[in-house]
C-alpha cells in the first residue's frame, strides 16, 4: 500500500518520522478504506 498526498506536490514531512511511522499509519488508512469503500472505476469505462 502506498499512501500519497494530494495534488500540489509530495509531502515529505514523513521523512522526519521514518519507515516505522509510515508502517504504523498504513493499517489505519486500510481500516478507514474498509469502512468507506469508494466506488471503483475502470479506465475502460471512460467515455
Amino acid at each position: 500500500m502506498n499512501p500519497n498526498s494530494s495534488s500540489l506536490g509530495v509531502d515529505v514531512t514523513f521523512l522526519l518520522l521514518g519507515a516505522t511511522a509510515v508502517a504504523m499509519f498504513t493499517p489505519v488508512v486500510g481500516a478507514l478504506l474498509r469502512l468507506r469503500k469508494p466506488r471503483v472505476k475502470s479506465p475502460s469505462d471512460a467515455g
Binding site: 500540489l8 515529505v12 521523512l15 478504506l33 469508494p38 479506465p43 471512460a46
Partner: protein, 409 residues
C-alpha cells in the same frame, strides 16, 4: 474519513480519501479484499504487473494543472508562465474549461490545480470549481493573493487547498519577485486563513530566498497555515531569462533536504516539495522503500500529472512546452483520453526508463526518473538528458572533466 472514488490500474488500484487527504495505491490482492474488486478486470490481465508501480504509465493522470488564464498584472521577473495584464491570445473561457473538466473526469483524474496568471480574478472561477466538484474532482488553487481576493473569500469552501505564492518575507519578496507585494500577499494569507483551514504557502526557491526558508516556515506557523510547498525555480516563461542568476547553487541543492526537514520540525509545519526536487532528496540516500511508500517520485509529467495552457494546449506538466505534434496535431486538454495512450505521447517525459549515465546505474533512478526535463532542456539543450543540477550528475560531470584533463605522458 471520507473516501471518494477509486480506479483500477495495471498494478492494482488507486483510492482517493478526502479526510485525511491521500491517494492510496494498492496491489491487486488489497484491491480485491478492501475495495471489493471482483473477477479479473481487463486491466489485470498480465500477472507480472501486479504491484509494479512505475512499470507502466498510469491509466490516466492523477492530477491536472490548469492554467486558466495568463492574465496577471504582478509582472514577477521570474514568472514561469510569462503572465501579463493582457494574457494570451486565444485563451479558453468557461465553456471550454468545463468541457476539459468533463474529459478529465471521464479519464479518472482526481484533482485539478487551478492557476494562472491570476485565476482568482476570473469572474467564472467559482463556476469551474463547482463543475469540478460536481464531476468528482477536487479543485485546488494557487493565487498570488494580489487580485480577486474579495471574490475568493466568498468561495473558499469549493477548494480543497488554497496556496498563496510567497517567495520571501519583506524585502526578500521584492528582491525575488521584482516588486514589493509582500504586505498584500500576507494580508491575503491572513484573510483566507480566517475562513479556511487548508491554506498554505507556495515558495519558489531561489538562491536569494534559500537562507530565509526557516523564517518562511516560522511565518507559516505564525499564520497557522497547513503547509509550505517548495517549488524548484524553473527556466520557463520569464524565468528562462533570469534562470542563471536566480537558480539555487549546487551547495544549496545539497543542503536542501536537511534544511527543510529541520525547519519543518522546528516550526511544526507540514512540508511538500515538487517532483523536480527528487534528485536533491536522493542525494541524502533516504530509505528507498520509505520514499516509494510516500510516492516520492521525480518527474511524473505526462504520467501522474499533466498541464494545460490558457488556450487548452495539453502539456506534460505546468512548466513544460506543449509536446511535439502527432500527425500534425497538438493535443488539447479536452482530448486527453485520445492522446494519452498514443505511442510517442508527451515525448521525452516518458523516456526516463532509457536513461543515460549516471542515471542508469543510480539505485534511485526508478524513483527519481532522471530529474526535471524542463531544466535539462534549458541547461543542456536536451530534454532527455539527466538533470544537470542533480548532485550525482554534477559529480559525474566533474569526474569526467577531470579524466579528460589528465596530462598525456
Amino acid at each position: 474519513m471520507r473516501a471518494r472514488s477509486a480506479r483500477l490500474e495495471r498494478f492494482g488500484a488507486i483510492a482517493q480519501i478526502e479526510r485525511p487527504r491521500a491517494l492510496v495505491f494498492v496491489d491487486r490482492a488489497y484491491a480485491r479484499r478492501v475495495l471489493g474488486v471482483g473477477d479479473a478486470p481487463e486491466e489485470w490481465r498480465d500477472p507480472d504487473d501486479d504491484g509494479a508501480i512505475g512499470k507502466h504509465v498510469l491509466s490516466a493522470p492523477l492530477e491536472a494543472h490548469l492554467q486558466l488564464t495568463n492574465r496577471c498584472g504582478a509582472g514577477c521577473q521570474g514568472c514561469y508562465t510569462g503572465a501579463s495584464p493582457a494574457g494570451n491570445d486565444g485563451e479558453w473561457g468557461l465553456r471550454e474549461w468545463m468541457a476539459a473538466i468533463d474529459a478529465l473526469a471521464d479519464a479518472g483524474v482526481f484533482h485539478v490545480a487551478l492557476g494562472g496568471g491570476e485565476s482568482a480574478a476570473l469572474p467564472w472561477l467559482a463556476d469551474i470549481a463547482r463543475h469540478a466538484r460536481a464531476r468528482g474532482i477536487v479543485p485546488n488553487l494557487t493565487t498570488s493573493g494580489l487580485d480577486g481576493l474579495d471574490r475568493l473569500l466568498g468561495i473558499v469552501d469549493l477548494f480543497g487547498q488554497i496556496n498563496v505564492s510567497l517567495d520571501g518575507l519583506g524585502a526578500t519578496y521584492a528582491r525575488v519577485r521584482g516588486f514589493d507585494g509582500f504586505a498584500r500577499a500576507d494580508a491575503a494569507l491572513v484573510a483566507l486563513r480566517k475562513t479556511k483551514r487548508e491554506i498554505g504557502i507556495n515558495v519558489v526557491v531561489t538562491r536569494d530566498n534559500f537562507d530565509e526558508l526557516d523564517a518562511i516556515f516560522a511565518h507559516a506557523r505564525r499564520r497557522r497555515l497547513s503547509e509550505v510547498e517548495l517549488l524548484r525555480f524553473k527556466p520557463a516563461g520569464r524565468g528562462a531569462r533570469v534562470y542563471a542568476a536566480l537558480r539555487c547553487t549546487d551547495d544549496q541543492h545539497r543542503r536542501f533536504l536537511p534544511t527543510i526537514l529541520a525547519a519543518a520540525r522546528r516550526h511544526r509545519v507540514r512540508v511538500k516539495v515538487d517532483c523536480s526536487y527528487t534528485p536533491m532528496l536522493a542525494h541524502h540516500r533516504p530509505d528507498r522503500e520509505l520514499l516509494a511508500s510516500l510516492a516520492v517520485y521525480g518527474c511524473t509529467g505526462g504520467d501522474f500529472l499533466v498541464g494545460a495552457k490558457p488556450g487548452g494546449q495539453l502539456t506534460a506538466c505546468s512548466f513544460a512546452a506543449p509536446p511535439p505534434p502527432l500527425d500534425d496535431h497538438r493535443p488539447r486538454a479536452d482530448e486527453l483520453a485520445a492522446y494519452w495512450s498514443r505511442p510517442g505521447a508527451f515525448g521525452a517525459f516518458r523516456s526516463w526508463r532509457d536513461a543515460a549515465e549516471p542515471c542508469a546505474s543510480c539505485e534511485y533512478h526508478a524513483l527519481c526518473r532522471g530529474g526535471c526535463r524542463v531544466v535539462s532542456a534549458h541547461v543542456v539543450g536536451d530534454d532527455r538528458a539527466p538533470d544537470p543540477e542533480c548532485p550525482r550528475v554534477v559529480d559525474h560531470a566533474g569526474a569526467a572533466g577531470a579524466r579528460r584533463h589528465l596530462p598525456v605522458v
